[in-house]
Amino acid sequence: MAEFLTIQTLNSLVYSMLLFLLALGLSLTFGLLRVVNLAHGAFFLLGAYVGLSTWRYTHSFVAAALVAPAITVVIGALLEKLWLMRFYLRAELDQVILTFGFALVFADIMKMLWGKDIHGAPAPPAFSDAVQVGNFAFPSYRLVLIGVGVTLFTATWLAIERTRIGALIRASVADRVMVAGLGFNVHFLFTAIFAFGTGLAGVAGWLAAPITGIYPGLDFEVLITTLIVVVVGGLGNITGAFWASLLIGASETYGKALLPEFASFVIFGVMAAVLLFRSWGRDEEEVE
């Protein structure tokens, strides 16, 4: 029994970190820019495909892990500069629809470029074996993911909360006119933030690929899960996203193990419950 609990806890941690990796980029974009980027899943998948092609060419996991975000950063920056920036002052729904449109477009473009078949991605050679946990073999790559997730969270949080640039970012989101008046290039900042978010999505795509596989349709599957995590965590709050990942990771993993019939409902139920709890007794416009 203890072993079962250990294994499932480890599983839930891995799954949580996977979720967090996916959710971080989206949470950042919304928290700082107030933009819901429904093309997030597309950037995730794009990162995975780019990583795959890079790996095929170089046979280096690390090289792929660097090229993937590089490409998604560039494309994210282009998207923001050419299109999205005009939408900052428009209604939320408009941004949602715009980014959803881009998600559909990217999905088909990726199909044209990489085809419709399913691809597998390899774990880095250093971590392709398994570690003994009790008498259970646990793939070491998954343990690595836990480390990566925690590191990314800490690094991002520190960057935003404790550095000067982070302060600048937070200030320009709170009052962009003032910050612009102080002489900073706010437009560039916003582009940089958005691109950082899409870069995170891209690297997450490649890092998760050894577990998820790479195929058309993965983008929307990931998007849905990510949206739920981010909504539960409180849009725009990366600490919230971290805790939400842990909560959802645990409920999904234990849900699968203990209540398999209701597994798929768990994640929606959690989100609905959290949303309603937050909104109780308040006017709907004030729910944050």
């Binding site: 819901v36 299109w83 005009r86 939320e92 729904l93 408009d94 949602v96 629809i97 715009l98 959803f100 449109g101 881009f102 998600a103 559909l104 477009v105 990217f106 999905a107 088909d108 473009i109 199909k111 044209m112 849905i224 949206l227 739920i228 909504v231 849009l235 798929s264 409902f265 929606f268 139920g269 989100m271 609905a272 949303l275 309603l276 909104s279 109780w280 006017d283 709907e284 416009e285 729910v287």
Partner: protein
């Protein structure tokens, strides 16, 4: 005490009656005569689908265009009434006098708890929770055997007073046209009533309406239930037409499709959703014979619409009309 006259009550309504009813009547009369003038049975089936989705889009617009609530789960009601019809018809009786009222009631009944919970949120959160509810319904329909599971449920031939009806394409065509006409009359009645105009006020500025003393939540819930009910009507039509229901009818891609119909046609305009349904279905049908990248086209549609033509076709037409009248 009567609620005070609110800001939008003074908006002129007279002209819109002309611009709505005239073209609509012309269209309906043309469609009525079309089969006898040689409209093929396949085109009739396309029209039936367009009429069905017009009703669905109109119902969504009550929420989107008039109350300002963006629902991403409207397919739920379309699916629920369709499934109610299928289950009743296959396991109890295919008698329309039984299945139709009960199916509509199911959609409305579901809207009460879902609406009651959803309207406590707004904006993006409202979108997410309506999405979540629809996904739960989709998952249930997909996984539970007693709901037919992933293979759906076959709907037996409907009966009226014990006799099989709607056996021919033409019979169904005229029935669909009739249902569409009635749905339009009722929905436009709602839109132009005091209730409808209050909804417009809520869309414009919810806080102010609340400050003016309106029970905003009650109106929102009312809009939600009305939208769900008419969505349910569309669902029944669809189930009887295909003689089949599948979990796909609750999938978010259908909610997205209806949303794009409303946006293309113009949300908040009476004829908008109908125009949108016509364009989207025709486009989808025609284009998918030439390319498998229909998603690309749909995505571009979304982008172009939201960037340049936010008000949709009806909006552009209205602007041109207004500009002409001004000059």
């Amino acid at each position: 005490m009567k609620p005070p006259v609110h800001p939008l009550a003074k908006r002129p309504q007279a002209r819109s009656q002309w611009t709505v009813w005239l073209p609509l009547t012309v269209v309906i009369i043309t469609l009525l005569l079309a089969p006898s003038l040689g409209m093929s049975s396949f085109v009739q089936s396309l029209i039936i689908e367009i009429l069905t989705f017009s009703i669905l889009a109109l119902s969504l617009d009550i929420l989107l265009g008039y109350t300002g609530l963006v629902s991403f789960g409207h397919a739920a009601f379309f699916a629920v009434s369709g499934y109610a019809t299928a289950i009743l018809a296959s396991r109890w009786t295919p008698e329309l006098l039984v299945t139709v009222p009960i199916s509509i009631a199911c959609a409305a009944a579901l809207a009460l708890p879902l609406g009651w919970l959803s309207i406590r949120l707004s904006g993006f959160y409202f979108l997410m929770i309506t999405f979540a509810f629809a996904q739960m319904i989709y998952t249930a329909a997909f996984r539970w055997k007693w709901l037919g599971g992933s293979d759906g449920i076959i709907v037996p031939t409907p009966q009226l007073l014990g006799h099989p009806v709607l056996q021919s394409r033409e019979a169904f065509y005229y029935t669909a046209l009739g249902v569409f006409g009635i749905a339009c009359v009722l929905l436009y009645g709602v839109i132009r009533s005091q209730f409808g105009r209050t909804l417009l006020g809520i869309r414009e500025n919810t806080r102010r309406m609340r400050a003016l003393g309106y029970n905003v939540r009650r109106y929102k819930l009312g809009a939600f239930v009305i939208a769900a009910t008419f969505g349910g009507v569309a669902g029944i039509l669809n189930a009887q037409f295909n003689l089949f229901v599948a979990p796909d009818s609750a999938h978010w891609s259908l909610s997205a499709l209806v949303l794009v119909m409303v946006l293309i046609g113009g949300s908040g305009y009476p004829l908008g959703p109908i125009i949108g349904a016509f364009i989207v279905i025709s486009l989808q049908h025609w284009l998918s014979s030439y390319t498998e990248y229909w998603g690309l086209v749909l995505g571009i549609l979304f982008i172009v619409l939201i960037t340049g033509a936010r008000e949709g076709i009806a909006g552009i037409t209205a602007a041109l009309w207004g500009a002409r009248r001004m000059s």
